[in-house]
């Protein structure tokens, strides 16, 4: 076979592009290459003249090489048929499309050109022969993303280690009252999945545990996981609550976003998975005094499953893939002093309101303002939620708290508009006579059914005010919210009894450490960077490590679940076949060339 290589390009100066002269010399030395011609940038191609050339050189195959060479294919295909050759023998060596850029762009371009000359697809030749791929997957984070990914992989028949930092899986979604825009009960969707995780034979659930280090290569990672001492035997505990009843220590409950209290030995919430209590060592008197005081829970436990002297353990896991699903935290609202969070008792963050309005929350779902109560133990007056407290007559919801703001988070947190509208609905549903205001900058109702939901909230009588409010102050015992109503050009003051702050999302604590351990970059805002924004939104630069959910960027529940299912497929690919693609960039030119040669069909 006689082969001609034509080098043409669409763009003049591709930054970091290959040295085409060097590629030309290399290609000229490949077997059967008779003609190498550089036609420059956007050459004017005359099929008739080309056909004469092809016929004169007696070429059987034409390779067009360069960035986006497909642009020139029609002219060469026509020329080949005019010359009486096989039109299918026009092959493309697409440099840019196969990742020839930056360091090693020239070497890569050579490999791409070689594959085209041999008539072997580049992706096929560049695939390494066999990499042993571990069958197990490590999922970091037990929120809805981690739960969904773990379930799908486990249902596919492969082993999953699900590592969760807190005492239960469920994450933020477990705290929510309703989902938007369907207003489904969040727990009704989540808890069956949680139970499935807890019972699945292929899922090893490691709660109250953290990934300490990761070594190895894609397909064969070794992860060290530190399992904190739960001090309660998960298998034996029947969640009878006696230990918690006798425990004398009260601290703010994380699950209730701090608006209610829990004991030092506790279960985060009744539907927790695993359904077992745990001891919070930071607040437990026994642990803090090295066993000198208290210990009453261990004595009272009817199942004798509390071991207050238990120590944490370190586990070594061998896994093929790692899925990062560490989620998010909410911005600390106290940073925006002007909204009075932490000063005005009835300024709440979104998560606090989720718990307040949740039927499993401290008020049984009644929306009430805080009441002043005397705390005898601490001898101070405290603002607390009393289920019998007064209902607010007017509620304001402030959007974009710390979001789209160069002083805090420059990005849009994407979920706040919709959850704020959901709050308005919940307020109007439970307190039809209360006035409800939404202060927004831009209403981002982008998802399926979201615009209709927005319309519904407007119909329900919520005042939708365009303008981010500026301050919440107290005037003679009445909270006053001040803001500009952009659409009427007026600065307005509104008396309100409750203010809900739609705080933005920030990456979870310790994301930076995890990113370093895994060798996965994060963007300027701290979210994990995907391999390719459009083409590979679940992969990362590190082979075998995938991202799902908010840790990759703010997103709502449907998108999170979709992405979690997608990463499950990615992890299963390696786990099922036992081999996976190594990162193509790490494969040497000589290997690709040798493999391309070996793949040439015998004629």
């Amino acid at each position: 076979m006689r082969i001609g290589v034509y080098i043409c390009r669409v763009n003049a100066d591709v930054e970091g592009g290959a040295n085409l002269e060097s590629v030309g010399h290399y290609v000229a030395n490949l077997p059967q290459v008779e003609v190498v011609k550089a036609l420059g940038v956007l050459p004017r191609l005359d099929p008739v003249a080309l056909a004469d050339e092809i016929a004169a050189s007696e070429l059987d195959r034409v390779v067009i090489a360069g960035d986006s060479p497909g642009f020139f294919k029609p002219a060469f295909t026509r020329a080949m048929s005019l010359a009486g050759r096989e039109p299918d023998e026009v092959r493309l060596a697409s440099f840019r499309e196969h990742g020839s850029s930056g360091d090693g762009a020239t070497e890569r371009a050579k490999a791409i050109a070689a594959c085209a000359v041999y008539g072997v697809p580049f992706t096929l030749a560049a695939r390494p022969l066999d990499t042993k791929w571990g069958a197990a997957t490590l999922v970091v984070g037990g929120g809805i993303a981690g739960i969904q990914a773990a379930l799908e992989i486990a249902d596919g028949g492969k082993k999953v280690y699900l590592v969760e930092r807190t005492g239960t899986i469920g994450g933020h979604m477990a705290m929510f009252d309703k989902t938007f825009p369907t207003l489904d009960c969040a727990a009704c969707i989540l808890t069956p999945k949680m139970v499935a995780v807890g019972q699945h034979p292929m899922i090893e659930l490691l709660t109250y545990a953290e990934v300490e280090s990761v070594s190895g290569v894609p397909g064969a990672f070794r992860a060290t996981v530190l399992r904190h001492a739960r001090r309660v035997d998960e298998g034996a505990c029947v969640a009878c609550d006696i230990c918690s009843e006798v425990c004398p220590v009260k601290v703010p409950s994380e699950f209730d976003a701090g608006i209610a209290e829990r004991k030092a030995i506790y279960i985060p919430f009744p539907q927790a998975v695993p359904n077992a209590y745990l001891v919070d060592e930071a607040s437990c008197t026994f642990v803090q005094t090295n066993g000198k005081k208290c210990g009453v829970c261990a004595k009272k436990c009817p199942k004798e499953c509390i071991d207050l002297d238990a120590r944490g353990e370190v586990l070594q896991l061998e896994v093929g893939s790692i899925i990062v699903a560490t989620g998010y935290e909410v911005l600390d609202a106290a940073r925006l002093e002007r909204y009075g969070y932490g000063v005005q008792p009835n300024v709440l963050t979104a998560l606090e309101f989720e718990r307040l309005t949740n039927a499993s929350g401290p008020t049984g779902g009644r929306i009430v303002t805080k009441s002043l109560r005397h705390n005898k133990r601490k001898k101070v007056d405290e603002w607390v939620f009393d289920p019998e407290g007064e209902s607010p007559r007017s509620v304001a919801i402030i959007h974009c708290v710390g979001s789209r703001d160069s002083n805090y988070n420059a990005y849009c947190s994407r979920v706040c508009c919709m959850y704020s509208l959901k709050f308005a609905h919940l307020v109007k549903e439970k307190l039809p006579d209360a006035a409800c205001y939404e202060f927004y900058i831009d209403m981002r109702a982008f998802g399926k059914g979201y615009e209709a939901f927005f319309e519904r909230i407007q119909d329900e009588g919520t005042f939708i005010v365009r303008g981010r409010s500026a301050s919440v102050t107290d005037r003679d015992g009445q909270m006053i919210l001040k803001g500009e109503d952009i659409l009427s050009d007026s600065v307005v003051e509104i008396p309100v009894d409750m203010v809900l702050l739609a705080v933005g999302l920030v990456p979870a604590e310790r994301s930076d450490e995890l990113a370093r351990m895994l060798g996965v970059p994060r963007d300027d805002d701290g979210w994990f960077t995907e391999a390719d924004y459009n083409g590979d939104p679940t992969g990362t630069e590190r082979g075998g490590v995938y991202v799902a959910g908010v840790c990759q960027g703010p997103k709502d529940i449907p998108d999170t679940v979709a992405q979690a299912s997608a990463v499950a497929a990615r992890a299963l690919e390696g786990a099922m076949t036992g081999r996976g693609l190594q990162s193509l960039t790490s494969v040497k030119l000589t290997d690709i060339e040798a493999r391309a040669k070996s793949l040439v069909p015998a004629s």
Binding site: D405, S406, G467, A470
Partner: protein
């Protein structure tokens, strides 16, 4: 009628210091935190919008920029770094140029080289003129007495002549300001009575700058008030007591005390302002237009040469005192001639005028609202207020 939008307006404002207007996404935070923003003068967001849209006619007719004192709260809290405070500042510069019918102000604000060149030119002319005048009728060796190089009587006449010319410029520009903001507005009828009844606002705000004191940070207001009062005291002394100040060793103690106070006030406040601008200590000092520097440096130099001239005169060094006097005059004259009607000084007139006109306008608005709804009587309640 629809308003013609001018897409080039932002470009036009750039030389005046408006840089980040396009970043604004209209969250309204600035207007709501502004201690001055109140119906119907809601800013800075609204003027920013007018600027983004290029609504020249609307901006030209606005008093809002003069009602802003640049506390910097808006820029501090702006989520987009759109610098609303600086935008208002640049609008004041632009309005000063619009009010000025000679076009000189526009030239100065758009090019500091022109402003600086004009100052140098006027300074040189002043120096030559006064030197020639002094040599023609007196002796360089005498500061006062019958043979004085620059006798206070002659300077006095010059001062008054200059003052009248400058006043004419300033008043004509102020009249244009009135025409743009009030006179040509056919939608509202401003009664002569309301003009008269609110007239007290002019001197009240000129001397107290009480509005500036509404900013949370009081420092800038105090410094600004000190600078302005020192300036006015010095002006009064020079316009009415020049003979007492300059002549003989027995200066009246009252003139003496006031003179020292005013000089100290000028020096200290200009140095404070310059330091703030160098250190960029607060939002309102982060952006300095060339005209801001020129103004402050000129005042400081005028004050310093004044002090030096006084010391030399008191020490009996008449020749040196006369030379310093010439230098002093060649700084004073450009400062007055160029800064009063055409540059930063003019805000001393426009600000109280704007407060005054704003009050008249509000009165007229209230009356037209009343007459429009005679049946209802009471103020209509908006849905926002109702709750």
């Amino acid at each position: 009628m629809a308003i013609r939008a001018n897409p080039k307006l932002i470009e036009e404002l750039e030389p005046y210091g408006a840089e980040d207007v396009m970043k604004c996404y209209h969250c309204g935070n600035c207007s709501a935190v502004c201690p001055f923003s109140e119906d119907p003068y809601v800013f800075p967001r609204k003027p920013m919008r007018h600027l983004q849209m290029g609504l020249t006619a609307k901006l030209e007719g606005q008093l809002d920029p003069w009602l802003c004192y640049y506390c910097g709260e808006c820029s501090d809290q702006c989520p987009r770094d759109a610098e609303p405070g600086e935008t208002m500042m640049s609008l004041r510069r632009w309005l000063t140029a619009r009010y000025d019918w000679t076009g000189i102000s526009r030239l100065f604000y758009r090019s500091w080289r022109w402003e600086f060149g004009a100052i140098v030119l006027v300074a040189i002319i002043t120096a030559i003129a006064f030197t020639l005048f002094g040599m023609s009728q007196g002796s360089l060796a005498d500061y006062d007495g019958p043979n004085a190089f620059l006798p206070s009587s002659a300077i006095h006449i010059f001062d008054w002549a200059l003052a009248l010319v400058l006043l004419a410029f300033l008043v004509s520009n102020a009249a244009r300001m009135w025409w743009f903001t009030m006179g040509r507005d056919k939608t509202l009828r401003m009664s002569a009575g309301s003009y008269l009844r609110s007239l007290w606002l002019l001197p009240a705000h000129f001397f107290s700058q009480a509005r500036y004191g509404q900013c949370d940070r009081k420092g800038p207001w105090v410094t600004h008030l000190a600078l302005m009062l020192s300036y006015v005291v010095m002006l009064v002394l020079i316009m009415f007591f020049l003979a007492e100040m300059a002549s003989g060793p027995e200066i009246d103690w009252r003139v003496h005390v006031l003179g020292y106070l005013a000089t100290a006030g000028l020096v200290v406040s200009t140095i404070l302002f310059l330091r703030n601008r160098v250190k960029q200590s607060a939002p309102q000092y982060r952006h300095s237009h060339e005209s801001d520097w020129i103004f402050l440096v000129l005042i400081l130099l005028v004050a310093l040469t004044g002090i030096l001239q006084h010391i030399l005169h008191r020490s009996g060094l008449d020749v040196a005192a006369n030379v310093t006097y010439i230098v002093h005059l060649s700084l004073v004259v450009p400062m007055l001639v160029l800064e009063v009607p055409f540059s930063k000084w003019s805000h001393l007139a426009y600000r109280p005028l704007a407060i005054y006109l704003a009050r008249v306008r509000v009165t007229a608005l209230a009356r037209s609202r009343q007459s429009a709804e005679p049946a209802r009587g009471a103020e209509p309640s908006t849905p926002l207020r109702a709750a």
